[in-house]
């Protein structure tokens, strides 16, 4: 009898033990700004692309972990670098408060402005290098640095680790960018007569993977070795041809930014 009573009271007690009205209210607001947006969790966690959160019970530790780290290989992002511990705590309070909520949300959609996220996740860029960063990753240019260089976890690593290059070169940056002839570029000659400049990525007994530099972005081709006539050390490829969209001033700005990142490493 006593055990039965405890069991009966448990959901109520559980519901009451979660958060304070203030933290739940703050979590509600954060949820509206970051979690119910777009096709994500829906108004009040009512279900959308991702599962319904209303009327469900989650362990606190699990919620904190998922909010902070996300769920890899799904659409749930990691919020750990965008929200404070207090934010995550309040958000967790709010989601747990939904355990006893009816599945249907009362009222209209939220009028909260979406949460303000920091523009950059991995490295803080000081004001004087923001422009360089923008130019490096500028998606409005088809021929941008990040098409061939990976920096701070973004971009494609076709070319070498650029921070190493930038760190050792004391030379005039734009000069290097315009006239440099990277040693990693080769000329590939195929048996069908095709010829192109490429950066070898992988070579096994049977196949060769190579970044074809004929167009932007480079295509990573997998060639069967028997189709390859020769791979020549000389290449008629110039870095200057792919950075033509940047002005000399742009190049200097980019160079300064890359050197800044290199120094930070």
């Amino acid at each position: 009898m006593r055990r039965w009573l405890v069991l009966l009271l448990l959901p109520v007690a559980y519901g009451q033990s979660i958060g304070t009205p203030a933290s739940v209210a703050r979590g509600d607001k954060l949820f509206a700004q970051g979690c119910s947006v777009g096709y994500c969790h829906g108004a009040g966690g009512s279900a959308a692309r991702s599962q319904r959160l209303r009327g469900r019970t989650f362990e606190r530790e699990y919620l904190i972990k998922v909010i902070r780290n996300g769920i890899p290989a799904t659409a749930m992002p990691a919020w750990g670098d965008r929200l404070t511990d207090a934010d995550i705590n309040d958000l967790t309070d709010y989601i747990q408060s939904l355990a006893t909520a009816p599945i249907n949300v009362a009222g209209g959609p939220s009028t909260e402005a979406p949460v303000s996220l920091p523009a950059e996740k991995s490295v803080d860029t000081p004001e004087e290098h923001r422009r360089g960063r923008e130019l490096f990753f500028d998606l409005t240019r088809e021929s941008r640095c990040s098409v061939c260089h990976r920096l701070n976890g973004n971009g494609t690593a076709v070319g070498p680790d650029i921070t190493k290059v930038a760190a050792i070169k004391e030379a005039d940056g734009p000069q290097v960018l315009r006239y440099g002839r990277p040693r990693t570029v080769r000329t590939f000659v195929l048996k069908d007569g095709e010829r192109f400049a490429g950066v070898p990525a992988e070579r096994t007994a049977s196949k060769t993977r190579v970044f074809d530099l004929s167009a932007t972005p480079p295509s990573l081709r997998s060639l069967v070795n028997t189709d390859v006539q020769s791979i020549q050390r000389q290449a008629n490829w110039r870095h200057g041809n792919v950075v033509r969209g940047y002005s000399l001033e742009d190049m200097q700005t980019i160079w300064n930014y890359v050197r800044f990142v290199a120094a930070k490493k």
Partner: protein, 548 residues
């Protein structure tokens, strides 16, 4: 009278292109004209009730369901699943020939969802777009990777590729998602042999380009314009037609004053150069998320006695637009759904009348809902029936516009929404109708309690196939809409059925597997739909071999 009919038929045949499929289902939309119509008639209205399951292929990846269109070439079926897996299957027996699993970077966050809507196959190669924004070419014989290109860093752009590529004349043409992120869309063409990019068409003109003046400030950099469904191609005109999605932010346009070209437009591009030949904008300055995203059906029909080369496109807002595909001239527009209040109508020149826009900070009922008067699941054009068969959805939403600052690659919605339980007219639900493609005059309507989210297949056997949320794949009589046959596939249908033949036997194949962003929204109106089970399998049917 019969002579007149014969003459008319001959005249029609003279200018009509043949967009019907036969043994193969070579392209996403059947042929590049996107009819989703097959000339095969072994299975027809008189015998479809005897269809029997011949094989089932389980892909093993249920997340997000199965949204693909199988491609069938010379007895081999190519299917892509969630997480960029590709299977080559013997189309007569269901035996797996090879599989390919694309490796996503470790810890990668998937935007939008894990699904993929199909591959393209040509010249012994299979082409796939990926969740981290690569285009990949495989050897059709063994699934070996031939090349891959990273179009943009997905982490940065907040975009990826879920649509099937279009391959014609050695060119792989691929769109991109990202219309609800701060991103600038495009269409790219790659060389099928090498993967080299041949051209790019930006869906939002840059500084100095015509149309750039339809954006204010820097809004063009984050204005959306995704090309998230597969385009069409007219060989005679050498034009490829792509639909450009909504401008971002979706519900708020305060910082992008102007028409916002070429969002919500059909663009006709020269296949060889990617240069814009013409555009037709359906919704200038969209603030409802009314993508022009869906299939471009290329059909030849007389309009007012004059043969016309037409392009039909269903807009997400529930209106169907018909234009002249040689020059983009407006021909007609007709509504697909009853619940439609964002405009009062479309004028004689295609102009939108009585715009009813979301308001900042105040809720408003808008119909259809953000899910659309129809989803991306394609309709079918049967030249034999003279009908365009398409699904439609009756539903509304409560929406609030919210000013927002764009952040590159991040969700950029400009508002929030909630589906409403009762639409303005009748009950919320879905339907499949038969329409005159130019006038929109409806011959019949098949109604269903939930949205119908699978594509439609039409055949010369006077049968129309589609599937529902509860897992029934079914056949309707093309002339009456009467249900002739159905089969329970065990999971809701969200993909696109196809038909093909091997050694003279006609097969009907359908993906089964419930999922997608839209399927996830359904419980806001129908709570019980969250219990609809996911799945991922291809079911294949044929008439019994002994002819009984």
């Amino acid at each position: 009278m019969p002579r007149f009919v014969a003459l008319f038929a001959a005249a029609t045949a003279l200018f009509a292109q043949d967009g019907a499929t036969r043994e193969n289902w070579p392209h996403y939309g059947g042929q590049t004209s996107a009819w989703r119509y097959s000339a095969l008639d072994q299975v027809n209205a008189s015998n479809v009730s005897r269809l029997t399951a011949v094989w089932t292929f389980q892909t093993g990846d249920n997340e997000g369901g199965l949204q693909a269109t199988p491609i069938v070439v010379d007895g081999v079926m190519y299917v892509s699943t969630s997480h960029n897996r590709v299977f080559a299957i013997d189309a007569a027996t269901g035996r797996e020939l090879w599989s390919y699993y694309f490796q996503l970077p470790k810890g990668f966050t998937i935007f939008y969802g894990p699904w993929n809507r199909g591959v393209a196959v040509a010249d012994g190669r299979v082409f796939l777009g990926t969740l981290d924004n690569h285009v990949v070419a495989l050897d059709a014989k063994n699934g070996r990777e031939l090349w891959k290109v990273n179009v943009e860093d997905a982490n940065q752009c907040g975009c990826n590729i879920t649509a099937a590529p279009l391959v014609v004349k050695g060119k792989v043409i691929v769109g991109v998602t990202g219309g609800d992120s701060a991103h600038r869309g495009y269409v790219n063409a790659f060389d099928a042999k090498t993967g080299r990019q041949l051209w790019r068409f930006w869906t939002i003109p840059g500084p100095g380009e015509k149309g750039h003046e339809t954006w204010t400030g820097d809004s063009w950099k984050s204005g959306g314009g995704a090309t998230w469904m597969t385009g069409s191609y007219d060989a005679e005109l050498n034009l490829t037609y792509w639909s450009v999605g909504n401008p971002a932010a979706d519900f708020w346009g305060g910082n992008r004053k102007g028409d916002n070209l070429y969002t919500d437009s059909v663009v006709a591009l020269d296949l060889d150069t990617g240069k814009l030949k013409w555009h037709y904008q359906q919704v200038p300055h969209d603030v409802w998320d009314w993508d022009t995203a869906y299939e471009n059906v290329l059909l030849d029909l007389p309009v007012n006695g004059r043969p016309r080369k037409l392009l039909l496109n269903v807009n997400k807002g529930g209106y169907t637009f018909v234009v002249d595909r040689t020059n983009g001239e407006f021909v007609a527009a007709w509504p697909l759904v009853n619940n439609l209040n964002w405009i009062t109508g479309v004028g004689p020149k295609g102009e939108l009348l009585g715009r009813n826009e979301p308001v900042v900070g105040k809720s408003k009922i808008i119909c259809p809902s953000i899910g659309g008067g129809r989803s991306w699941n394609q309709g079918a054009w049967s030249p034999k029936a003279g009908m365009f068969f398409t699904t439609g959805i009756e539903w509304c939403e409560d929406v609030v516009a919210v000013p927002e600052t764009p952040k590159e690659g991040q969700v950029y919605f400009g508002g929030t929404f909630k589906l409403t339980h009762k639409p303005l007219k009748g009950e919320a639900g879905g339907h499949l109708g038969a329409y005159d493609p130019v006038t929109g005059k409806r011959a019949w309507l098949y109604e269903y309690k939930y949205p119908l989210l699978a594509s439609v297949l039409a055949t010369a056997g006077d049968v129309v196939f589609t599937g529902d949320a509860e897992g029934f794949f079914f056949a309707l009589d093309a002339t009456t809409g009467k249900k002739l046959w159905s089969y329970q596939t065990g999971s809701g249908n969200r993909g696109s059925a196809v038909t093909y033949s091997v050694n003279g036997r006609q097969y009907i194949a359908t993906p089964s597997g419930w999922g997608s962003a839209l399927a996830g929204l359904l419980p806001q109106i129908w709570p019980e739909t969250e219990r609809l089970r996911s799945g991922s399998a291809v079911f294949v049917f044929a008439l019994p071999e002994n002819g009984k």
